[in-house]
Symmetry: C2
């Protein structure tokens, strides 16, 4: 079933090509069901087996050159108006199309700094250079990272609706699970409850099953990006979940924090509340600051500064990432100026982008306070796509 979002993203790409003064975007792929460029989900819609290329031009042409046995599937989707199938080899068809179009600047699907714009395998890149030998086209190749970044970042209204719905369903799942969890359960048992609620909604996970959901309880927990373990949730623990679901191809990615009351306690101890409040306020300060034109590292600094001023260590990661078709949707990042982030701290925030905001604060002897919310950037600020956590959620004593 063709996704109508693809036609609409292709049309958006044509405008971006013009804006970037690029004549042709050429996505090159092979056996893409296995070594997969995520741009295929954005503007192609089905995989290919043999070396194939999808060309979108500044004047709106859409040409696919692919192995003959892949033709029917792409014809059925209908996103590419010209489909050139080959049997023995791609060279002639590709050179024929390039000679006809004679594009001045050809953007291909690699990027040093943005992993989601970096779907062209290195060997296939070398193969392309081989195919283009003796033609003028090899020297006209540039990175398509600018196209991919803009195309992923600039959400169209139906995309925003799907992300919003994914967030609403996830917040609802948190509320439902809250009524079902209690001390004595393991991280794995809590995760199983979440998966059961997700399946009841007919939705799927936003990332790898092995740590979606992530559930971590208490001071010795593994932290983000690790799967739930047999560790038991005990009184005195901070317990956190990090979870995202996919609604019609678009993701949520949210975190929530619980505290397990000890016998006799009616509220968390002051240290726990200080951690929770540091995170809660850091999120709100970042959201109050973010707006079109500011750089990612400036937004990160607002939250990071609040966390350290409150006496907690710096979080060992970025404040937030973009979200969309993927939970980590590439390009612009709310991150500090660290080597691993390359040029990305300096990318400017734009209207229509969706960011997570997710600082954390460890609380000695209890665990970690973390919340993660999602905002969409508006003309002069931002608006929540998730109903943010305002109070720490309490689990009664056993």
């Amino acid at each position: 079933m063709p996704d109508p979002m693809i036609a609409s993203k292709i049309a958006q790409a044509v405008g971006i090509l013009d804006e970037l003064d690029i004549d042709c975007w050429m996505i090159l792929a092979r056996e893409s069901g296995t070594v997969h460029d995520p741009s295929i989900d954005l503007v192609v819609g089905a995989n290919v087996t043999w070396i194939s290329t999808f060309l979108i031009t500044r004047s709106g042409e859409r040409i696919a050159i692919l192995g003959s046995l892949d033709k029917a599937a792409h014809e059925a989707l209908g996103h590419y108006t010209e489909i050139v199938p080959y049997v023995k080899g791609i060279t002639e068809s590709l050179l024929g199309v390039l000679r006809r179009l004679d594009p001045g600047r050809i953007a291909i699907n690699f990027s040093v700094g943005d992993e989601l714009a970096d779907g062209l395998p290195h060997g296939l890149y070398l193969k392309l250079l081989e195919l283009l030998e003796g033609t003028p086209y090899g020297s006209r190749l540039v990175s398509s990272e600018g196209i991919v970044a803009r195309l992923r970042a600039r959400k169209q209204p139906p995309e925003l609706e799907r992300i919003t719905r994914a967030c609403t369903e996830t917040v609802d799942l948190f509320l439902q699970m809250h009524t079902r969890i209690r001390t004595g359960m393991t991280e794995k048992q809590i995760a199983a409850i979440m998966v059961e609620i997700m399946e009841g909604k007919g939705l799927t996970r936003a990332w790898d099953a092995d740590h979606c959901p992530a559930v971590f309880t208490g001071p010795e927990s593994a932290g983000a990006h690790a799967g739930p373990t047999d560790r038991v949730m005990e009184p005195g623990h901070l317990m956190n979940v990090d979870f995202g679901m996919r609604f019609e191809g678009y993701c949520s990615d949210l975190q929530r924090t619980w505290y397990c009351l000890r016998p006799g306690e009616t509220a968390p101890p002051p240290a726990v509340m200080a951690g929770f409040e540091a995170v809660r306020v850091a999120i709100r300060k970042a959201a109050a600051f973010i707006r079109p034109g500011v750089m990612g590292h400036e937004v990160d600094a607002v939250a990071r500064g609040h966390i350290t001023a409150a006496g907690f260590p710096e979080y060992p990661h970025a404040l937030g990432h973009q979200i969309g078709r993927l939970a980590h949707d590439g390009a612009g990042l709310l991150c500090p100026i660290w080597e691993r982030y390359g040029d990305r701290p300096f990318a400017r925030v734009e209207e229509g982008q969706c960011y997570t905001i997710e600082p954390r604060a460890p609380v000695e002897g209890h665990g970690v306070a973390t919340m993660e919310e999602i905002v969409v950037i508006t003309a002069d600020g931002c608006r929540w796509l998730s109903d943010p956590q305002d109070e720490i959620w309490l689990i009664p004593p056993p």
Copy 2:
């Protein structure tokens, strides 16, 4: 849950490094849940978020350098004995490890000719060159394609058992569906029956849901690599399915042919039988010929020659591909000497490899006869992993 096959494939890789005179295999990845190198499933077992590298040395060392938040997941798997987490950037840790190992030849994960050994994105390759600038290591990089090809091709007994089981379950599914299909059903309805049987077995698809199963009926059908349509199976049609399932991470990929009897017919017309027999005999001739040491194009030629001698056109694809963790398992291919196959027709068949054999013959006015079987290469020939189709399966007249 760590897959015991991974430890065993890592041990096998160490032996292959020695055989190829390579000191260190370095798999480089980032955001690998999205832009995924299939070697990660073979010798790593979990994804990474930030730039990471997994090093396996000729002397058996296994070192992972990765972002600190990915540490716990890889520690839990236990496949890498040394895990070096970083917070701000990978450079220092990576250079430290390389200085200590001082490998003479470093194989990295790209390949011009073998798409399954080509999991390193081009931008990340450029980033690696940047990181290694000013060191001697950049000039020591070679392709790891020889390692990956051997590691995927040389099946260990537990791998063979899983593939065999995937085949047995698929043949059983064909027998079950045979009792449930009848003329008047659409390709989509037939596919739905197959999926229902698969789900009943608790198994999953071997490739993309959009054309797994592929079902094509009659003379106007779309052919392989296309999804089932609303086309109705009618008397006089050849109907084919192409389907694979995954059992404990290993795949089958088989095809079967049916003929729909017309009112009054008790057997298919001679033209249909000629097509079926051409394919049946071509498969058996190829299986009788294949053995260690022959080249892929020689095996293809045996089947291709039989098909054309029987008066049918050449099939527009290779005779067969390897199968294993993936339905298209890379490297050695039973293919003609065509541009699109590069050097692969000249790869020699080795003991322990598993190949599909899948010629086809179109029959004017009826559709296509295709069967696909799987063999494992033995010391002096091959052995079927799938119970091959001996007779055309008949669907009674309406």
